[in-house]
Structure formats: structure tokens, C-alpha cells
Subunit: 112 residues, 2 copies
């Protein structure tokens, strides 16, 4: 059985640059392509493309404000993403524990 996750959402947070952007947006309470690019090792245009991806999956919402476009994190959607991460991690942990338990049981039955 496979862990059920939303691939689009996952791949959105799979990129390291996009994760750092989310971190920055959370820390500063919002930002623009220009402000984010000043604190990242990529150009404004690259940031803008990432923002478009995050916007498409609903992790951020952009609102025009004069000549700039301000982006903010969508709390609910990010919480959903965080929950997915926790789920997958917990599932793997559970499977590893189960395998370990079986291995130990086999070991015991051999020793006896």
C-alpha cells in the first residue's frame, strides 16, 4: 500500500528554494518577488516563477498593491502540507518499527 499524498502539493514544497521562500514569507509576514530575491541566491525572475508555482497550488496568495505584487502564505494550505509531511514520516517510522519487531521475533525463535 502507498501513502496517499497530494503530489502537486508535495512537489511544490519539494524544491529547497520554495521551502526557503515559505520560511521567509512566514518570518516576515509576506513579501514580493524582489524582496525575497534579495535574501535568496537566485534572481527575481526565478523567485517569480516559484511564486507562481506556490500560488497555483494555493500555498501563497498574491495581491497587486500599486506597482508591486505582495505575496502571503495561506495558513490553511500550509498546515495541510505540514500534515502530509508528518503523515508520511510517521508511516515510514511505523513500518520500520514493525519490520524491526518481526526481525527480533525471528531472532528470539532461533535462539530458543
Amino acid at each position: 500500500m502507498t501513502v496517499a499524498v497530494n503530489d502537486d502539493l508535495w512537489s511544490a514544497i519539494g524544491d529547497p528554494t520554495r521551502r526557503r521562500m515559505l520560511d521567509l514569507l512566514l518570518a516576515d509576514g509576506g513579501g514580493t518577488a524582489t524582496t525575497l530575491s534579495e535574501r535568496l541566491p537566485v534572481t527575481r525572475q526565478a523567485v517569480a516563477k516559484h511564486l507562481a508555482v506556490l500560488d497555483r497550488v494555493g500555498l501563497v496568495n498574491g495581491t497587486p498593491a500599486g506597482r508591486e505584487r505582495r505575496y502571503q502564505v495561506d495558513d490553511e494550505q500550509l498546515a495541510r502540507a505540514a500534515a502530509q509531511l508528518a503523515t508520511v514520516g510517521a508511516t515510514w517510522d511505523a513500518r520500520l518499527r514493525r519490520i524491526k519487531r518481526i526481525a527480533e521475533a525471528i531472532q528470539r525463535s532461533k535462539e530458543q
Copy 2:
């Protein structure tokens, strides 16, 4: 501040096909490029490339066995990856809760 994670390890589990491969390897206790490709919507060659990636970051180990090459999940490394997922998810959750708390405090001070 940015959440500290191993980008190589993360991007290895960032690909949906690779996550499903890990799931299959965990469920079956191992497998080859051929057996995995039979249960995935990609060709054997694609699976082989993914196995090489997973092998490089230490999430699986491949051992030659006759004419086939058997891969198994490395428990410790997968546990490390699961821990990273949990950490990032928990960090985002904590920040969202903190923001919500602050917003509510502002709301209260306005109402009063």
C-alpha cells in the same frame, strides 16, 4: 531563520516515483529494478536510475545476486529522512500557531 535539512536527502524523497519505490521496497522487504517497474507506471530503466539516486544518498543498498541486483531499504537512513519530514512539518505548524496567537492578541486588544 531557515529549517536546517539535508537537501540531497530531501530531494531524493521529493520525487513521487521514488517515494512509491521506497514504499514497495518496505512492503516487500526488497526488490529489483524489474520487479519494481512491474508495479509502477514507468519503465525498468527509469526505475534503475531512481535506484541509483536512492543508492547515492544511502536510502537503499544494492547487492548483486547472480544475474540480478537486489535492493533493500537502509533502515537508519530512511528513519533520518522521516525525522526530517517531521521536523519541517512541526516547524511550520509551530510558526502558524504563533502567528495565529499574535493575531488573536491584536484582535482582543482592539475589542477592548
